[in-house]
């Protein structure tokens, strides 16, 4: 190790030793095993200890580093989380932590995003149905029939403007509803939209899939498959199901949505919409009067825990904690958090319940009473951290039809990460929880999950799918890489700024640039090269 980065770990090392002795050992061994399974260079002792020490301090750094800061933060600005600086040093440490979560969660998002894109691209290339636009949406009255590029351009512009206005209207409507606390309506629409996706669009997908391969199928079988698939999906998404299943369903739903966009949007309109959406995203999330921002703030005022319906999150911690402490109360909580549940309709009470369930452990849990008060603030803050996503979820409420779907996707498009504080809050409770922790360490990372709205999945996939629909794979790959890099940057900014960020602008901008540049400039070059088998 070189001298520069030596000191902090050492300091932590000692601390970590202490904490370790408290309750880590089982976990540490288990950590070793994991390393052995995961990484194959964990065999000899030096490494093993290395790994373990490294992991445990990584928990503890947070402890020592950010607890005071948390206190300050809690004191100064009632948990307005935007990294309001305590000492710069601590700030740096926090940043490092942010980066650290970033590093893991970036991958946790890469996998599903890539899977979603994979599904879309594979479909586009195998099922010609999704490749040709013959039917059009109600919202794109101009069909770009004329050969004139200028006319096409105006058509595309007009279409995208119409779509965007629909989106804006829906979002504002959403704000109103949310302010009026019409959770029933919101949730009804939410269920309806996912129902549509899971049944109707899946039906369409199955049909086109079978037709593409000319496979006969009888109605009893088809209906049975649809029924099973749909109901299981509704259960997994809106009620309770295995996390993997839920994530799988969310990815599939996003892919379906993307395919529908690709299928029904005219050529240029699709591109225009992509651009417009990302701009709108920027405005809605960042501008002080942006609707999503307003939603977030209302949510924060109400101090509500809101369900992440149709948002891809790798976290299950609320469920876990809630259920762990107050089972009967937190049934709604659990549903309301990990998966969006019908029982959210009686939201306020349940969220209160959540709060209790979250706050109550603290006294029992905290090694020192000092950690309890922060604990409370923490939970609040954490809740406030969650709210953006929450707010977006409400947006999901609005989806009934095309526009609705669109709007909620748009509204839901936002990245949101628990701040270090909340993370520590959990890691703190962790210590007290003697849960059977075969999967605790991964959990510990999963909990402060970055949430990525399905909207992002959808529009990323639309971009890549559109690119691949031209039958040139280099373009597809370029878009893919560009989008991932954009996502990386977004998450980096997220870790630095600690505030809800729009996930589309950077990625989509990169994606568009690379898509057009590749198909226009790089493709001929590469094709000349690969035709002559020249490698560069």
């Amino acid at each position: 190790m070189d001298a520069t980065s030596a000191t902090p770990p050492d300091a932590d090392g000692s601390l970590s030793g202490a904490t370790e002795r408290l309750e880590r050992p089982p976990k540490r061994q288990q950590q070793q095993q994991q390393q052995q399974q995961r990484t194959n260079y964990g065999t000899n002792n030096a490494d093993a200890t290395d790994g373990a020490v490294l992991t445990v301090p990584s928990v503890v750094i947070r402890e020592s580093g950010s607890r005071p800061s948390r206190l300050n933060a809690g004191g100064n600005d009632g948990g307005h989380s935007s990294g309001s600086g305590p000492g710069p040093s601590q700030h740096d440490i926090e940043e490092e932590q942010g980066l650290k979560y970033g590093a893991q969660h970036v991958i946790k998002l890469f996998v599903p995003v890539s899977l979603c894109m994979l599904v879309v691209v594979a479909t586009i290339n195998s099922i010609s149905f999704y490749n040709s636009t013959d039917v059009y949406l109600l919202y794109t009255p101009f069909h770009e029939q004329s050969p004139e590029p200028s006319v096409k351009f105006w058509n595309a512009l007009a279409n995208s403007l119409i779509l965007m206005s629909v989106v804006v209207v829906m979002t504002i409507l959403l704000i109103v509803l949310y302010k009026k606390r019409c959770y029933r309506v919101i949730h009804g629409w939410l269920i309806l939209s996912s129902f549509m996706l899971l049944f109707i669009f899946t039906y369409l997908y199955l049909e086109e899939l079978l037709r593409a391969y000319n496979i006969p199928m009888d109605y009893p079988t088809a209906v049975l498959i649809m029924w099973n698939f749909g109901v299981a999906g509704m259960m997994a998404i809106h009620w309770q199901g295995p996390l993997r299943l839920q994530q799988g369903y969310l990815i599939f739903v996003a892919a379906l949505m993307a395919l529908v966009f690709i299928k029904y949007l005219p050529e240029w309109t699709a591109w225009a919409v992509l651009a417009a959406i990302s701009i709108w995203d920027l405005i809605a999330v960042l501008s002080p009067r942006g609707p999503l921002r307003i939603l977030v703030e209302t949510a924060q005022e109400r101090n509500e825990q809101i369900f992440p319906a149709l948002i891809y999150s790798s976290t299950v911690i609320y469920t876990y904690m809630g259920t762990h402490y107050t089972p009967e109360e937190t049934l709604p909580t659990a549903t309301a958090t990990a998966t969006s549940s019908p029982s959210f309709s009686n939201s306020t009470t349940t969220t209160r319940a959540t709060q209790n369930s979250l706050a109550s452990p603290e006294p029992a849990a905290g090694p020192s009473s000092s950690s309890t008060r922060p604990g409370n603030t923490r939970t609040n803050q954490q809740r406030q951290q969650d709210n953006p996503s929450a707010a977006e979820e409400e947006a999901a409420g609005f989806t009934q039809e095309w526009s609705a779907n669109l709007s909620d996707r748009v509204a839901r498009r936002q990245i949101e990460v628990q701040s270090t504080q909340s993370a520590n809050g959990r890691s703190n409770e962790y210590r007290t929880v003697t849960a059977p922790d075969s999967t605790q360490q991964p959990e510990a990372q999963e909990e402060r999950g970055i949430k990525l709205g399905l909207g992002d999945f959808i529009f990323y996939s639309v971009l890549v799918g559109k690119a691949s629909s031209y039958g040139d794979w280099t373009t597809t790959i370029a878009c893919f890489v560009a989008i991932l890099i954009g996502l990386c940057l977004t998450l980096l900014l997220l870790a630095i700024w600690r505030k809800a960020l729009p996930a589309l602008p950077i990625s989509i901008t990169f994606g568009l640039i690379f898509c057009f540049a590749t198909s226009a400039v790089v493709k001929p070059f590469m094709e000349n090269l690969s035709a002559k088998q020249v490698f560069i």
């Binding site: 980065s5 995961r38 490294l54 690379f514 590469m526 088998q533 560069i536």
Partner: protein, 239 residues
């Protein structure tokens, strides 16, 4: 449908890189990110070089021109990556799951090199592979039926070469070893220009030297990364 050909070539070209990815990249998020970042930078370099090629309309059919410049661009971007990685080392150190990434700088070099290699091989091969899955093979209008398999082999050598090059390159800048830098750029140019012969079907004339260069570079990289004959012996002795 010559799917066999397709899978065969895919395995040849992307099997080893895939194995490398699975065993040495996949389980460390930081490495994955670096890999993708490297790929992104390679894309940038390609974009620049093809823009140049594109703008220079008269020189379009003169592939040598494009090749040389793209090689130079790639090396420039390799250097840029080097600078970036070295400057963010502290951050990385804090971020990294296991500090080996930063302890052993060669891992960074290796990862970014692999990123370079994979993306360039993909760009060179993916469309060919896509065309391969049809019912036919090469050779109707000139071009031998070994077109695909040689392309795959070339792609593999390119992946490995990029990895080795990056290791040598990074270390060379760490140690101001200009010979190595020259070697990297030189061999890169040599290999790329050599592949120009493929157009005339001198497959062995290109493949053989390329693989010789690959092995040579691999050896140098191995030495640079701190391998020695003794270590190999010990490695084989399994002690």
């Amino acid at each position: 449908m010559t799917l066999p050909e397709f899978f065969g070539c895919t395995f040849i070209a992307f099997g080893p890189p895939f194995a490398l990815f699975v065993f040495s990249i996949a389980n460390d998020p930081v490495r994955i990110i670096i890999l993708i970042a490297a790929a992104f930078f390679w894309l940038l370099s390609l974009l620049l070089s093809s823009l140049l090629w594109f703008a220079a309309v008269p020189l379009r059919d003169v592939l040598v021109f494009g090749v040389v410049f793209s090689v130079l661009f790639q090396e420039c971007f390799r250097y840029i990556i080097y600078r970036i990685l070295r400057s963010t080392e502290q951050g990385l150190h804090a971020v990294a799951e296991d500090t080996r990434v930063t302890e052993n700088k060669h891992i960074l070099a290796y990862v970014s090199g692999l990123g370079f290699g994979i993306i360039s091989a993909m760009f060179a091969l993916v469309n060919v592979l896509a065309d391969m899955s049809g019912p036919g093979t090469m050779g109707l209008k000139g071009g031998s039926e070994f077109f695909f398999i040689t392309s795959a082999a070339q792609a593999l050598s390119i992946v490995l070469l990029h990895t080795f090059w990056s290791i040598i390159f990074f270390n060379a800048f760490d140690t101001n070893n200009y010979v190595h830098i020259g070697y990297v750029v030189g061999t890169h140019l040599f290999v790329s220009l050599l592949t120009l012969l493929n157009a005339d079907g001198y497959y062995w004339a290109t493949l053989l030297p390329n693989y010789i260069v690959t092995v040579l570079t691999g050896a140098i990289a191995f030495k640079v990364a701190g391998g020695t004959g003794r270590s190999i012996k010990r490695f084989i002795m399994c002690r």
